[in-house]
Structures are given as structure tokens and as C-alpha cells.
């Protein structure tokens, strides 16, 4: 394998799509305003919402999961993941009424490390949230038993989906499982500061 050479902004050239690519890890998100670059993430049962402003081409994706069996706690966490992505797009000049979304991921477990419903819960949350906020979902590729590698080009809205072979799917799943574990041990709440 050739060594990965990272540019100053953390991107690297990916020969699979012939473009500069920014990698997003589970629990993270990224918004770019670069017409030539893509945002990429590796998905197992998690969901990525790819959102962009259709006029300015500013956009990006998040990579999230609903952390637990407590439904309302999970929904607050999911809503947080969606809001930080949308706020950042709006902060870079995006307009809410011009946003469109594509959603991916939510594979069922290959290794049996989680119950069948985990992926579909994540998918249902993303669909419901976007519908509530009036953001049209113009494409979706969800479920199945393979993990996915997503390349999202916010400037055009184009997405390249690669289905992962079993070995890579398991690796994606393991990465998400580690992320789920860190969520499990941390309280789902932010800090409070009262000004005196």
C-alpha cells in the first residue's frame, strides 16, 4: 500500500474517484465549499446524511448513530448530529429552503455484533428528522448486509457508493462499535455554565 500523503487541510488524493477527499470518522461531520473535493466516510450500521445548498454547492455529511435503547435520549443525540451539520452549512452562507439531502448506510450486521434493528432505527430517524425539517431527501441507499464507502461531492450533489467486501465491512463495523462504546460511557448532555 502506498503511504497516504495528507494535505494541510487533512485531505488526500484518492485515485478511486480522481479527486481530493476529506475523510469523516464515526461521530464526526464536515462541511466543505470546495468545488473539486469530496467528503468520504465508511459506513456500517451508522447513517450518513449528505446535505448541501443546491445553489452555492456548500455542503457536507455527518456520520452518526443513535446511541442507546432509550428512544428519546437517542433522538436528542441524532438531532444534535443533524443540527451541527445543518448549522455549519447555514453558517457558510447556505439557505435552509435550498437544502437537499441524500442518506446512506444503516446496513444490518454482518458479524452479528448488534441486533438487526440498529441500522433500520438509524435510517428511520434520519428520514423522520429531514421530513420534519422540510429538507427533501432526493436519494437514499439504506439497509442490506454490506458496508458502504460514500464519496459525496457537495458542489454537484453527486455521490459514489462502493459496497464493501466482507472484510472491509467488518472493519467499518468495528470502527463504529468503538465509537458506540465511547458514547455509552459518556452522558448524552452538554455542559452548563451559569453567568454570575
Amino acid at each position: 500500500m502506498s503511504p497516504l500523503i495528507l494535505a494541510e487541510d487533512g485531505s488526500h488524493f484518492d485515485h478511486r474517484v480522481g479527486a481530493r477527499v476529506h475523510q469523516v470518522l464515526p461521530g464526526d461531520h464536515l462541511v466543505i465549499a470546495d468545488p473539486d473535493a469530496a467528503v468520504c466516510t465508511l459506513l456500517g450500521s451508522c447513517v450518513a446524511a449528505c446535505i448541501r445548498d443546491t445553489t452555492t454547492g456548500v455542503g457536507g455529511l455527518n456520520h452518526f448513530l443513535l446511541p442507546g435503547s432509550d428512544q428519546s435520549q437517542s433522538a436528542r443525540y441524532g438531532a444534535f448530529a443533524m443540527e451541527v451539520l445543518i448549522n455549519e452549512i447555514l453558517g457558510q452562507g447556505g439557505r435552509r429552503e435550498r437544502l437537499e439531502a441524500k442518506i446512506f448506510g444503516a446496513a444490518e450486521s454482518i458479524s452479528g455484533s448488534h441486533s438487526r434493528s440498529v441500522g433500520s432505527k438509524n435510517a428511520a430517524f434520519a428520514r423522520h428528522y429531514l421530513e420534519t425539517e422540510g429538507i427533501p431527501v432526493v436519494a437514499a441507499d439504506l439497509g442490506g448486509t454490506s458496508g458502504r464507502r460514500i464519496y459525496y461531492f457537495p458542489s454537484t450533489g453527486m455521490v459514489r457508493v462502493q459496497y464493501l467486501a466482507a472484510l472491509e465491512s467488518r472493519a467499518a463495523e468495528a470502527q463504529e462499535a468503538r465509537y458506540r462504546k465511547t458514547l455509552g460511557s459518556a452522558p448524552v448532555a452538554g455542559a452548563v455554565e451559569l453567568f454570575g
Binding site: R76, F80, N87, R96, P187, V188, A189, G190, E193, F195
Partner: protein
């Protein structure tokens, strides 16, 4: 029981906040941005405000600043509930006389104990 004005441009967040406050026995008035919130403040005279920061038309900081000039808002507890973490924004919140700052995602227990403590 308190009357809480909850302000957020995200529908999902408004409904989660309303659920949480109602379960705690409080009454809730909702607004989607600072302009609507100022109207609701004058109209309903709430006991407390919980507001998002990033919103269209009028953001949470500008809303608090404007609300402090209203008789209904002069001494009202007003909390920001936001995804933002920048110190410069917290400094601005302090300058416009926000009561406090909470980061999302929120914990219902924490929200309810703050409402009990402040309102």
C-alpha cells in the same frame, strides 16, 4: 409550575424541548426565531426563556439583547441552548446578559432542574 418560552428554528428540537418541559409539569410557549420570540415574550410574559443561538431573522444573542430592553424581559432568566462552543460567543452571551449557557444535546433532567432553580 412555570411558563417557559422555548425558541429554536429546528422543529424537532422544539418538540423535544416541549415534551421535556411538559413532562416536568411546566407550560410551554414555542417560537421559531428571535422575532417571533419577542412577540411571544410580550404576549405571554413567560417565567423563563430557553433559546437556541443560530436562527434566521434574529439569532438568540440578538433576541436576548432586545428582550432585556423590554419590561417583560428585564429580569427574566434566559438560557442559551446551542451546539456552539466558541468562547467569543459565550463572551457575547455574557455581554448581552444571558443567564447561562447550555450545550446540546440537552439532558431533560438538567433542563428541568435549571427551570426549577431559575424560574
Amino acid at each position: 409550575m412555570s411558563l417557559v418560552l422555548a425558541v429554536d428554528d429546528t422543529r424537532a428540537l422544539r418538540s423535544m424541548l416541549a415534551d421535556c418541559l411538559k413532562k416536568g409539569g411546566h407550560q410551554v410557549v414555542l417560537a421559531a426565531d428571535g422575532v417571533e420570540a419577542l412577540d411571544k415574550l410580550r404576549q405571554h410574559k413567560p417565567d423563563m426563556v430557553i433559546t437556541d443561538l443560530n436562527m434566521p431573522r434574529m439569532n438568540g444573542l440578538d433576541f436576548i439583547e432586545a428582550a432585556r430592553r423590554e419590561p417583560e424581559g428585564r429580569a427574566l432568566p434566559m438560557l442559551l441552548l446551542t451546539t456552539e462552543t466558541a468562547q467569543s460567543l459565550k463572551d457575547r452571551a455574557r455581554a448581552v446578559k444571558a443567564t447561562g449557557w447550555l450545550n446540546k444535546p440537552f439532558d431533560p433532567g438538567q433542563i428541568l432542574s435549571l427551570v426549577d432553580q431559575l424560574s
